[in-house]
Amino acid sequence: MIVEGEYTFSGPRDVVWELLQDPEVLSKAMPGAARLALVGDGAYEGSIRVGVGPVTAAEWKLAVTLQDRDPPAHYVMQVDSKGPIGFTRGSASVDLAETDGGCTLMRYRADLQVGGKVAGIGQRLIDQVAKMMTHRGLDALSNELRARLAEEA
């Protein structure tokens, strides 16, 4: 499954970069009462709670590793999650570019493999759910950014 798109943050690139490395901020951007902790350099572990269509929400163990980091412009995120109803694994590349007016344009492209029960039963909805989760996450990050910039002001 490919999830790709663009998102514009109303704030400078280095602040966005900082947010994207902060486990507390990231956990707010993840669905279902997520926990996320930094366990090593660019390595995070935690859990999220997700359901897809007819598949009831269940807890997924999540491991994320950031690689190829080129602050504040680029990184690749390896994702590995497992739950009682299946697994998701793959990588997402994220590019941040400065745009006019002090904004930051994010381009992302994730190539994810989904397996197990969730793939067999939830297939029709997986793409939509992934897109929805991505948008909600990015909106949450955007709100966080606004809050942080307001604090600084």
Partner: protein, 788 residues
């Protein structure tokens, strides 16, 4: 004989129990102290198994045991190879049978990794989430051609290839035929995978009795006797210590004979080990991953013909998808190879196939068992040839049928029973003429033109097929006259809705001249009858039916001999009619069969040497060859070129399964088979992604045809009796499903004539047909749909 039952529409005597909810199914087995099982199944299609940690699951209240491959010790063994490879010269066969629980590696999604036994299924399912499995994912093998590429990942490393088998068979000299041909048609054909989707999933329950020292297993299997034999061997018991009962089973269709499923091996073992009854009921989701499937093949085929449409030869190269293991040997691709020839006189034939391991659910026979692929390839080649030659599709078939004087007919290639492909009998042309008459073929073209002017796209398809049925090795039956006067028949087959209880009762009732209602049949209980193989290959009625007949004839002999003694007359003077024996001409000197049975089991006096007590006999039947059923399917469809939806307006089947035992049962089999075939043609397809994940593992996304999609089949019966068995029977269980795809493709193409599209792939779906239409429109912009 006064009573006639064979050939009559006797009402199914099992229906009273089924319709009033009193028929026992395996899931009805409820025993005190029973434990329940859930299986942890692989989420990965292909991965190394680094470790399985069950410690948290064991701590969950209510969990009694959790087993992994390591806990099985010596009991962990790959399953038996059910059908060894046929003795074809130059054959390659790599045996890799399924294992009870994955060890070291998982090879398809749904392969069992651990077994949880708990006080309830709820607890067992919850405990699955406690188990931590460390997988190291590997690239999966999904596509058949990619699987054979030199750098493909390997499903079974030890073979150094994903090729499971190679078989080449020839009849005549195809190259010579090709050189002499006026025309050669060659195409690639695809047939994809579906699920059997029986109404009842698989269920296994087992109980060990430590006092009697015996094991009872209730199993939805189609082959209870081989299951008993195998379990006894694996568990170190005598066959007599194991009783396998296959009670009423809600549909078999082939996958329930894949002896031995991991669950079938593990549930009885767990019952013995834990000393408590154990049951596992497959849920529908598991069924999509863990019950065998069928139909993935890719054919590159060509046909050489003369200008006037006579077949000179056929050549076919094909790939067959085995899935992750090949316990059923080569039955399916051999069936494809042999059935391709159909009812036609094909002087030269060359066929070779490669069976291929993939990281998908195991493939074993599903209703048709490879035959539909052969029929699809042959019938499509004929359709294409007819179009190129400007011949009518019915006419090209007429020109190529084997004529009646060519029977019995022998092709020099081996069939699934390892005997040469042998057509015992057949008479094909009358079936074609009847079918075309029933569907109104003659007047159809005009009707088609008229409807096209109204903006309606209708088309007709007419195809032929043969089906090798009723193969050996053998079945048996015991017939007993009870002192109550009722007659009991026991046979070793399992029954899954075919109507065995009625068909076998008819055969025995006629032979003994008793009321069919007084004959009760028991099947599928190894303690009742312990010799035989099972219900598969459209053989139940032919092989077990013939055994029932032989046993009934033997009992008839005993009845006449005993009656002669008791009534004091010569045997030739005894009349057996209406459940009683009497002396001819002296009707008052009579005795009921029940009274005679009591005389045959005396409390005083001696049973004379050379005689036996009771009115009972056991007999066996094993045919040298199968018997060849055949038929013609014709259908009329209407296609909406805008939405690409297809409606089947009429469906005609003319079927020849030899002598009919009960036309109503035959019609039920054909109607059900056609429904299965329509599903295969247009609805049912399992979609796997490139990592081997099944993407439509529920009835929300996997489309079964409904009553709205399956018309009532109009049927006619031809009866060309089989010479190989005394009743002249041929099988009918799979026939309805076999040619449906070919008929559908021809009819849809015909409805869309003018578009220039060619259907070479089954199942076709509305979206695939839509794409074909788009391509056709792009290629010929002059296509104008008439406004409806």
């Amino acid at each position: 004989m006064t009573r006639r039952y064979v050939g009559e529409r006797v009402a199914r005597n099992e229906d009273r129990r089924l319709l009033t909810g009193r028929a026992m199914f395996v899931d009805d087995v409820q025993l005190p102290g029973m434990l329940h099982v859930a299986f942890l199944r692989s989420d990965h299609a292909h991965a190394l198994l680094r470790g399985v940690d069950v410690s948290a699951a064991l701590e969950r209240p209510g969990v009694v045991a959790v087993f992994t491959a390591d806990d099985l010790g010596d009991y962990w063994q790959p399953g038996p190879l059910l059908v060894p490879p046929p003795p074809v010269e130059g054959i390659v066969f790599h045996e890799a049978t399924q294992v009870p629980l994955a060890k070291d590696k998982v090879r398809h999604v749904g392969e069992p990794v651990a077994m949880v036994v708990a006080e309830s299924r709820y607890v067992a399912e919850d405990a699955l989430a406690d188990i931590v499995v460390d997988y190291e994912p590997l690239d999966a093998v999904v596509d058949l051609e990619a699987a054979l590429a030199p750098d493909a990942p390997l499903v079974h490393e030890r073979f150094g290839t994903n090729m499971a088998a190679f078989v080449a068979q020839r009849h005549g000299d195809y190259d010579r035929a090709r050189a002499a041909a006026d025309m050669v048609i060659s195409r690639r054909f695809l047939y994809d995978r579906g699920a059997a989707a029986a109404m009842e999933n698989r269920v296994v329950a087992a109980q060990w009795d430590p006092l009697a020292e015996d094991l009872t297993v209730w199993d939805t299997t189609q082959a209870p006797i081989p299951i008993r034999n195998g379990l006894a061997r694996m568990l170190g018991l005598m066959e007599s210590q194991v009783r396998v009962v296959a009670p009423f089973v809600g549909g078999g269709f082939g996958p329930k004979i894949m002896m031995f499923y991991p669950e079938e091996v593990l549930v009885p073992w767990a019952a013995m080990r834990l000393g408590r009854p154990v049951k596992w009921t497959e849920d529908r989701q598991e069924n999509f991953f863990a019950t065998s499937q069928e139909r993935g093949q890719v054919h590159d085929a060509e046909m050489a013909l003369t200008r006037d449409g006579r077949i000179l030869g056929v050549r076919d190269f094909f790939l067959h998808d085995c899935g992750a293991y090949d316990p059923y040997g080569l039955t399916i691709p051999i069936n494809s190879q042999c059935t391709l020839l159909g009812p036609y006189d094909v002087p030269h034939y060359y066929s070779e196939f490669r069976a291929v391991f993939t990281n998908k659910t195991i493939v074993t026979p599903v209703r048709g068992a490879g035959r539909q692929h052969g029929v699809f390839v042959m019938e499509r080649l004929l359709d294409i040839a007819a179009r190129e030659l400007g011949l009518d599709p019915v006419e090209i078939r007429r020109r190529n049928y084997l004529s009646p004087e060519l029977f019995p007919h022998n092709f020099d290639i081996l069939y699934q029973d390892f005997a040469p492909l042998y057509y015992d009998s057949g008479n094909y042309l009358p079936a074609l003429e009847t079918a075309t008459e029933m569907i109104g073929y003659e007047g159809f073209r005009e009707e088609q033109r008229r409807l096209r002017e109204e903006g309606r796209y209708v088309g007709v398809g007419v195809v032929s097929y043969i089906e090798g049925t009723g193969i050996g090795p053998y079945e048996g039956a015991r017939v007993t006259v009870d002192p109550s006067g009722r007659v009991r028949v026991a046979t070793g087959l399992g029954t899954q809705g075919q109507g065995h209880y009625t068909a076998f009762a008819q055969i025995v009732a006629e032979a003994l001249d008793v009321d069919v209602e007084r004959v009760s049949v028991v099947t599928g209980d190894t303690r009742e009858f312990g010799w035989g193989t099972g219900t598969f290959a459209s053989r139940g009625a032919v092989v077990a039916g013939s055994a029932c007949h032989a046993a009934a004839v033997a009992v008839r002999g005993k009845i006449l001999a005993m009656a002669a003694r008791v009534l004091g007359a010569a045997e030739e003077q005894i009349d057996l009619a209406d459940g009683r024996v009497s002396v001819r001409g002296i009707p008052e000197r009579f005795m009921t069969l029940g009274e005679l049975a009591r005389h045959a089991n005396p409390l005083r006096g001696a049973v004379k040497p050379g005689t036996e007590p009771g009115l009972e006999a056991t007999a066996y039947f094993g045919p040298d060859h199968g018997s060849t059923a055949s038929g013609v399917h014709a259908m009329i469809v209407e296609v909406d070129p805008e939405t690409a939806m297809v409606e089947i307006l009429r469906y005609v089947v003319v079927h020849d399964c030899g002598r009919l035992i009960n036309p109503q049962l035959v019609e039920g089999q054909v109607q059900g088979g056609v429904a299965h075939g329509i599903g295969n043609s247009f609805y049912e397809k399992l979609h796997f992604d490139e990592s081997g994940q099944l993407l439509n593992a529920s009835f929300m996304d996997y489309l079964l045809p409904t009553a709205m999609d399956v018309p009532r089949v109009e049927m006619a019966h031809m009866e060309t009796p089989a010479p190989m068995n005394p009743l002249g029977l041929k099988g009918v269980g799979e026939a309805g499903a076999i040619p449906a795809g070919a008929a559908f493709a021809q009819a849809v193409e015909d409805a869309l004539s003018g578009y220039g599209l060619e259907i070479t792939e089954i199942p076709l779906s509305p979206s695939q047909l839509f794409e074909l239409l788009q391509v056709a429109r792009a290629a010929s912009p002059q296509i104008q749909e008439t406004a409806g």
